[in-house]
Symmetry: C2
Subunit: 353 residues, 2 copies
């Protein structure tokens, strides 16, 4: 023990999380599932309009942004909270429902922040595993794992890094089997698959849905997300949320982004075409992969996972190692067809060496 | 009890916090202690340079900003964390040190977020009161209130809304009396008084200091702050902090802001002159007030506190009611001499009606 204040045991026990922190500029960034061509020009126009000393100097006001986002998502303003990325959505949800020792059920592998915030809050995290063969969601085992005392379930649909989705009917079964648990369906990659539980927020009182502007909307630098539920649940979450967590420029950007949803629709079309191209290229190299419902593909590089990741980086193409959680696997973000072609060309030149 | 998931008792019990959320545009905003002339033009230039789709689309990278802020604050990069406003600094500190039932000692009245985040974390908050006569810090009573089991102390210096400061020697006494508690000195208004505990972070292992870009730097819309301590403490806090909580434009803005510290120095000079003018004007009206070490003054409006606040608002001047915590008191932010003169003119025309 060092001198001075001692951190909580929960913080001591947490696994450290070290996301890459630099060196990505100038490279083809297929490592974070971002939009690879950038946000709509209208987002930049909107921020530019707002870039005055008078605007920057005042604490954020969210009323207009809330109203416009509500209309876009077809909910009432009191049925969601704007958050500092999906990360804050998860944190606020956890802080609203999880006390020390409470049971939290999540999947492995999935988004690291479910475990992270649950542990910060002192929750006891149980993890179920995706099916080994096809990385599909094991609905029967998951339903069995739900307990009457389970307080929180957090699922990504489609899931990162597996790319696999959960069927409508399975989501319904979970909601009905755990009526007293808060159930988050994190739809960060919704736009690539079109499956959403959002219309159910007033049907299932335990349903929470999150969306983000960091992925297809191309605004990861801005940190903006939303969490939806019925108005009673949202009122509790807002009570546990700090009043000014979203940067005003992010709120301005989000408004502009939903106004230009055609831009996102066109990009999604390009990514879906590029994903087919990627499947084709991987097939050609006889590299096994998992079919994805999102803008990334997990493929099998075996013991070459890290060497291939490094060699691609040396050639200016960034992909993400996932072999520490799915043996031999790396993940590549799908961008445009040109970008996928560049990735495939580099991969091919390395693969058969 | 409604159906569905039940929020934590800690969240149920929390007092709701409703900051004003709109209608401030176009008015003379002397209600939030912001910089009343706005951030440096160089901040806007820097953001503009960064406003490309390529930049907005990627997750934030903080290395350059951390290095530049470290040099400005004369600390090492590992001796602070950048935060989403001071609010996240408080939250991360609380989440690192406070378990359910832990003892937290704060002052009343002070910044509402100390209690807020402590309660979210399940801490037990005790509040000491500023001296009734002059709103000075009651060092003897405070030292008596410290217990061996006290885990966290959070003090604003100078304090909001009282405007009063804590002496160097008193901070030292607190740090020495509570060696096992984390002691936060929140220096949101440091630039107006020049008293800082920051150089002590490697002398007292229990010291934490926070600063913000929301006040004198004129960047409240951007949400950027910092929390400083020795590198061991900072390492624990970073473990409990989410990896991308600061908007990249905020980090870019903070870098530009510290490069143009002359701009802030000039504004501070103007505010200090304007504060003298405000004292003079209040004296002239025989309105009692408390001498302030920050960019705001708390004054006695008696039972007219709310009517005066409302009448000023109707004339386009916003001030903040504080009578719910200090009977009869309202708070006015000090801006430029012209702005203070406008406030005084409006106040005078109302006061002797």
């Amino acid at each position: 023990m060092t001198e001075g204040p001692q951190p909580r045991e929960a913080v001591r026990q947490m696994a450290p999380y070290h996301p890459p922190t630099g060196g990505r500029a100038g490279k083809l960034r297929l490592d974070f599932n971002e939009n690879t061509v950038g946000c709509s020009p209208k987002v930049i126009e909107a921020i530019t309009q707002y870039l005055t000393a008078d605007h920057l100097t005042v604490y954020p006001e969210y009323v207009d942004a809330m109203n416009e986002l509500a209309a876009f998502f077809k909910v009432k303003p009191e049925e969601f909270a704007m958050t500092n990325g999906t990360d804050e959505a998860i944190q606020v949800l956890v802080n609203t429902y999880i006390d020390d020792g409470d049971d939290v059920l999540i999947m492995r592998p999935s988004y690291a922040m479910y475990r992270f915030y649950s542990e910060v809050a002192g929750g006891v995290v149980r993890e179920m595993e995706y099916r080994k063969d096809d990385l599909s969601f094991p609905i029967d085992k998951f339903l069995d794992a739900l307990r009457p005392e389970t307080k929180l379930v957090m699922l990504a649909n489609p899931n990162n890094p597996t790319g696999t989705g959960i069927k409508f009917e399975d989501i319904r079964l979970i909601l009905e089997t755990a009526p007293d648990a808060a159930v988050l369906i994190d739809e960060a990659y919704f736009e690539f698959c079109g499956v959403t539980a959002l219309p159910w927020i007033n049907k299932y009182p335990n349903l929470f849905v999150s969306r983000t502007f960091s992925k297809v909307y191309g605004m990861a630098a801005m940190r903006c997300g939303c969490i939806f539920s019925n108005k009673d649940n949202v009122a509790w979450m807002r009570k546990a949320q700090s009043p000014y967590s979203v940067n005003m420029l992010a709120a301005v950007a989000a408004r502009a982004a939903v106004r230009d949803s055609d831009y996102v629709a066109r990009y999604v079309g390009e990514v879906l075409a590029a994903r087919e191209l990627a499947y084709f290229g991987l097939d050609k190299l006889n590299i096994p992969y998992f079919k994805s419902q999102a803008n990334f593909i997990l493929f099998q590089a075996g013991d070459r996972a890290i060497p291939i990741r490094d060699a691609l980086r040396d050639r200016g193409v960034l992909i993400r190692d996932r072999s520490y959680e799915i043996p031999g696997c790396v993940r590549v973000t799908i961008g445009t067809r040109d970008q996928v072609q560049r990735f495939l060309t580099e991969l091919e030149s390395l693969w058969n060496k």
